[in-house]
């Protein structure tokens, strides 16, 4: 049915930090951990998605999460997603849909058809779950469709779908007016999740433990903020390439001591690097922001390519799924579920007030502007993954709006009369086009040609910048 051949093995990406280098084995460990847990049969395993603010509930109930997006990403990074994507296509699913989901559904269908893992499944494969927690959000349609589609091949596995909306930014509406009922709804949805897990595990939620875990992840949030803030240093000690590794504890290990300890270590490492004046690249010439889009997991070496041209990425908007809690002004509550719901809303509305203050701004644009200033950014790079509308629609407009309201670069241009005049220009930007895991959409030659041209543009501006 599908062409069961592996693609060429990817080259390993060089990391700047030891912490980032330690991530690979960590991911492998939690994949093999799910295989082991399945074999032992003591814990329940659940398919689920990142960025749902429900990790604390999972951990408190001792349910092992199987991060299905992560597994698809691994298939992509190992350049071994194509056979699962083809399987999904043969079921009638269009290649234009979220390729994480296609990869997952193709894998599930194959595993269920065989009654065992597909041959040479990456890192031992993704185990059949006891249940699936999907989430309808104002974030991603495939999340509430993926498991429903997979259930066709494992109808005995129940789904619980939690709805986690947040108020979309509207210029003439104060989001605070609606937060109350959003919060009430999310609390009910999360309590529904607790009830579902209690029923599935035949255990009662230990609210003291939940409170501790919520506190642990809150502390981890703050620690991540402090750690990532260190990347403001010149030269920058850690780039987005590494952050695509360190996203693992943020997104897959939240509410564990291990995640907290990881950032303690990373923070220490960055502080030491800064003290030694050690940057991600040896001779930092350009500071770039990864301003939108998930990376191509099979082409993370592109970050090394940027690095080889003297470009560092001190900051990204992708997978930095935390925001400073102390700046959020969250209502006090002793109920951990209520707190999770407030934190959810606090995270998604974090830039709303600031955006409202700057004419023409909008939260995503505002975040770009703030990070450009805080991290002294010279250019913005984005990636448009064709299969994912969630993170990749609106990027062109954001760059358009950014260019319209924010022109920080003074240059002299030769006017029509031959005289030099000083004008202000927008930050240069680059949009790469490919996919998260569908390697057939990627061309290394084209990508690197674009990067070369972008670097030259940055150099042009550097030379041309009015004093």
């Amino acid at each position: 049915m599908a062409e069961e051949q592996k693609e060429a093995k990817p080259k390993k990406r060089m990391t700047a930090t030891k912490a980032a280098a330690s991530i690979g084995p960590m991911v492998k460990e939690f994949i093999t951990g799910t295989l082991q847990a399945r074999a032992e049969g003591k814990q329940k395993l659940a398919y689920t998605f990142i960025v749902c603010h429900h990790e604390e509930i999972f951990r408190a109930m001792d349910v092992v999460p199987i991060w299905t997006e992560n597994f698809a990403g691994i298939c992509g990074a190992k350049r071994d997603a194509e056979r699962f994507l083809q399987r999904a296509e043969s079921l009638g699913l269009s290649r234009s849909l979220c390729t994480y989901a296609l990869c997952g559904i193709g894998f599930d269908q194959w595993r269920e058809e065989l009654g065992q893992m597909p041959p040479d499944a990456p890192w031992g494969g993704m185990v059949k779950p006891d249940f699936m927690i999907s989430s309808g959000q104002i974030l991603c349609d495939p999340r509430s469709k993926w498991y429903q589609a997979s259930q066709q091949f494992m109808p005995d596995v129940p789904i619980y779908n939690i709805d986690l909306p947040y108020p979309l930014f509207q210029r003439d509406q104060d989001h605070r007016e609606v937060l109350g009922y959003y919060h009430r709804y999310i609390v009910k949805q999360l309590r529904g999740l607790v009830a579902f897990l209690e029923e599935q595990t035949k255990k009662k939620m230990d609210y003291d433990r939940l409170r501790e875990l919520v506190d642990l992840s809150d502390r981890t949030w703050n620690l991540i903020e402090e750690t990532y803030d260190l990347r403001k240093a010149i030269p920058c000690p850690m780039g987005t390439g590494d952050a695509m590794n360190t996203m693992v504890p943020i997104n897959f290990m939240m509410a564990t001591q291990k995640a907290y300890d990881f950032f303690v270590e990373l923070k220490k490492e960055l502080e030491e690097k800064i003290a030694r004046g050690e940057g991600e690249v040896e001779n930092e010439k350009y500071r770039l922001m990864w301003g939108g889009g998930l990376p191509s997991w099979f082409a993370l070496t592109d970050f090394n390519y940027f690095n080889s041209k003297g470009a560092s990425f001190p900051v990204e908007t992708t997978y930095r799924m935390v925001a400073p809690l102390k700046e959020m002004d969250l209502p006090e509550t002793k109920d951990p579920i209520e707190h999770l719901a407030w934190r959810w809303l606090g995270y998604w509305t974090f830039w709303y007030d600031k955006a409202r203050k700057r004419p023409g701004s909008e939260p995503d644009v505002e975040r770009l502007i703030n990070r450009i200033e805080e991290y002294k950014i010279d250019g913005v790079v984005m990636h448009e993954a064709f299969s994912c509308r969630t993170w990749h629609v609106g990027l062109i407009w954001q760059l358009h709006q950014l260019a319209k309201i924010y022109k920080p670069i003074p240059v002299y241009v030769v006017g029509k009369d031959g005289k030099k005049e000083k004008v202000y220009r927008e930050l240069p930007s680059l949009i790469l086009e490919s996919d998260i895991i569908d390697i057939t959409s990627y061309s290394e030659v084209d990508t690197r040609n674009k990067i070369d041209a972008f670097i030259e543009t940055l150099e042009s501006i550097r030379m041309n910048r009015a004093a």
């Binding site: 448009e384 064709f386 062109i396 358009h400 260019a403 240059v411 002299y412 241009v413 030769v414 029509k416 220009r425 927008e426 240069p428 930007s429 949009i431 086009e433 959409s441 030659v445 040609n449 674009k450 070369d452 041209a453 972008f454 030259e456 543009t457 042009s460 501006i461 030379m463 041309n464």
Partner: protein, 259 residues
């Protein structure tokens, strides 16, 4: 005499420009073929023999374009965006926005008249179109690519294409042919569809006057006119617009000699 050479290996056509102290000495263009290395050597040889110069007079060679890595004898490789900006600034210094219509990509760039690039965009996989579709259609219509421009200007009733996507435009064009439309009207419609795509790309980067068009596509007078109609202002086209990047490369080579 101190000579510099710019070589632009495109996916369809390859171009070379030999630059003397006073300006261009000679230019040469040929199909890229499959062996880019040989093509590059051929360009070098042709230019030398046509100018009566010897190899040791070429003090520096800069390669650009899709196959620039195959120009093994080049001293440096530069992205075509940079070479285009350099080239157009020397040819038409008032140009701030350039649309280069190549075989694989359409490139839009903004420059400040001093050869520096400020921002750029390449046509993506779906949006935008490139020159290739014109070659495909020329084959279908059994006409020469060079004749497309003149033919399209004779159109009396332009075919309206309903898709902007180049892939679909191709199949739509072919299916329209069976509906008894004339070659002229079909070509005019295709130009309009392409020009509309260039315009949206250009608007994404931001358009500042003057606007110029280069690349093989700029030799197509019908395409330039279509774009000008959409923009509602004149579009500048340098002589031999397909040579712009090669010229830029040769200038860059010269500048790095003089420091």
């Amino acid at each position: 005499m101190i000579l510099t050479l710019g070589i632009d290996i495109g996916s369809a056509q390859s171009k070379g420009m030999l630059l003397g102290e006073e300006g261009p000495l000679n230019s040469f263009e040929c199909a890229s073929g499959v062996d880019f290395k040989r093509t590059a050597l051929r360009i070098q040889e042709e230019l030398l023999s046509r100018s009566g110069k010897s190899l040791d007079e070429i003090k520096r060679t800069v390669a650009t374009g899709y196959g620039s890595k195959s120009v093994v004898f080049a001293d440096d490789m530069r992205p075509d965006i940079v070479c285009l900006a350099k080239g157009i600034s020397s040819l038409l210094p008032t140009v701030r926005t350039l649309i280069d219509v190549g075989d694989l990509y359409t490139k839009i760039l903004r420059t400040d008249g001093n050869g520096q690039v400020h921002n750029f965009l390449l046509s993506g996989k779906c949006a935008g179109g490139s020159g290739r579709i014109l070659q495909v259609i020329a084959k279908v219509l059994q006409i020469k690519v060079e004749d497309i421009g003149e033919l399209s200007l004779k159109s009396k009733k332009r075919v309206e294409f309903s898709t902007g996507c180049a892939v679909f435009a191709e199949s739509e064009a072919i299916s329209r042919l069976s509906q008894e439309v004339t070659k002229e009207d079909l070509l005019a419609g295709l130009h309009r569809a392409l020009a509309a795509q260039f315009n949206s790309l250009a608007e994404r980067v931001g358009i500042e006057m003057d606007v110029a068009m280069t690349g093989g596509g700029a030799k197509d007078i019908g395409l330039v006119q279509s774009f000008s109609e959409i923009r509602k202002h004149p579009i500048l086209v340098p002589p031999n617009p397909q040579m712009t990047a090669a010229l830029g490369a040769a200038i860059i080579a010269r500048e790095s000699l003089t420091g």
